[in-house]
């Protein structure tokens, strides 16, 4: 129990070390090159300290509680004995991995909801759009995208189909959707692909990919274990555009479009 508090201090020190270059660049440019004072400097420094402490607590908590359990779970679910247990005839096909699809979907959705970077972007988008983009609407749209992405990525590892087929098809789909999506959402949708996969999602999803590719016969973890993150960054782009298209469509149906 004491160990966790020592680890907490170490994690906070690590976070400070990670943030140092960013702080040097920002304050260096602002004070030495642009030579402008920073308004509310005290408040901003307090904010930085809170972010550092917050990330320290967050990472240590994940490390102590959720990651070991989630990684163990990914191992147990991909264990050949567990997969064969639900399958009396002894022939394993792609459907016998059903719990893993569900796990991939659920873990993709739930870790995305807890992702701090996505929360930050959602808060900003909500401010900038004067409330017309809901914080929860965006987060749920992204989370559904990640969930579908991970489930499909799991299917790809199990069937052993080449990664780039899916990614290139996804790109084509994103481009077609871009033509029809409301203009205001496009940049935000592209951004949401990159922010989803960070502190919470990556370790758990990587464990799932690694576990799966080392137990499915014929898969090589070094070649097939990668790619889940790519799925998780591609599908939110589609789901966020779809969210905007759906809300535009329902707004148009419920009342005549006001002049803009």
């Amino acid at each position: 129990m004491l160990q966790i508090f020592i680890d907490l201090v170490l994690t906070i020190l690590d976070t400070i070390w990670d943030v140092l270059p960013i702080a040097v660049i920002i304050f260096g440019f602002q004070l030495l090159i642009l030579r402008k004072p920073i308004p509310n400097l005290k408040k901003i420094i307090t904010g930085f300290v809170l972010v550092l402490l917050g990330l320290g607590f967050f990472l240590e908590g994940l490390e102590a509680a959720l990651f070991p359990l989630g990684k163990l779970m990914a191992q147990q679910l991909t264990d050949p004995a567990f997969i064969a247990a639900g399958n009396p005839d002894g022939i394993i096909d792609w459907w016998d991995y059903k719990w893993i699809y569900l796990f991939g979907f659920a873990i993709g959705f739930s870790t995305t909801i807890a992702e701090p970077a996505l929360l930050a972007v959602a808060i900003k988008a909500n401010q900038v759009s004067a409330g017309s983009i809901g914080i929860w609407g965006l987060r749920i749209a992204v989370a559904i995208g990640v969930a579908i992405g991970i489930a499909l990525g799991v299917f790809r590892i199990i069937t052993g189909t080449p990664l780039y087929w899916y990614i290139i098809t996804g790109y084509v789909f994103v481009m077609i959707q871009t033509i029809y999506a409301p203009r205001l959402i496009i940049a935000l949708a592209y951004d949401s692909g990159g922010v989803t996969t960070s502190t919470v999602t990556v370790p758990l999803v990587a464990a799932l990919g690694l576990g799966l590719s080392s137990t499915v016969p014929g898969r090589n973890p070094l070649l097939d274990g990668f790619g889940l993150i790519a799925f998780a960054s591609l599908f939110p782009i589609m789901s966020v555009m779809a969210y905007a298209q759906l809300s535009e469509w329902s707004a148009r149906r419920s009342k005549p479009t006001p002049p803009t």
Partner: protein, 243 residues
Amino acid sequence: MKSLQAILTSLLESLRDLLPIILVIGFFQFAVLQEPIPNFGEIALGIIFVVIGLTLFVQGLNMGLFPIGETMARSFASKGNLFLLLVFSFALGFGTTIAEPALIAVADEAAIVAATGNMIENSLQSMESYALGLRITVAFSVGFAIVIGVFRIIKGWPVQYLIIIGYSGVVLMTFFAPREIIGIAYDSGGVTTSTITVPLVTALGVGLASSIKGRNPMIDGFGLIAFASLTPMIFVMAYGMVV
């Protein structure tokens, strides 16, 4: 009294953000795997840490990261020095990526893949230099991406044209890159943007778009992260071809 209530509210909000993970892990542990939770006390404490951490982070976001990003954007816009702005953009992209822990992990992983696939010599030294080269490549590509993205905001180019070019680059490189590197390259796009970089870069983009006349913060302000997750894929595949 009022501030205590505010703290309590934001703690509850953080707990709500975390609830889905707790439910998912609980469901799989009890209903599917049918195993008890090991060392329950430590896990409960960890969850409390996560809730506290998320609450502090969101507070700090609104007090520190968002305002400083916007202040920088305004300073640059009023200074009117494009070159300085682009130097800053590169430094921000490069500086935040080179030390990114997730990237370090992926680079080490990639070195193992390259050594196993006989792309490089199977020795510790060559693997280390391969991983370092990869990190510098990715950091450079993120710096490059922020420069392009900032330039786009200033010019007001539609984001989708640049994304189409980027996607075409990824597809083209996929045909030429060694097969072993493709998975890592695709993944590297997602891992580069960290929890601190994202709010800063977003605030910078939105701040720039709001201080330049004729730009819409919603249409022009977002998109920097998208570039930062696209260029590493191209550069990592290029790295795999050259090394």
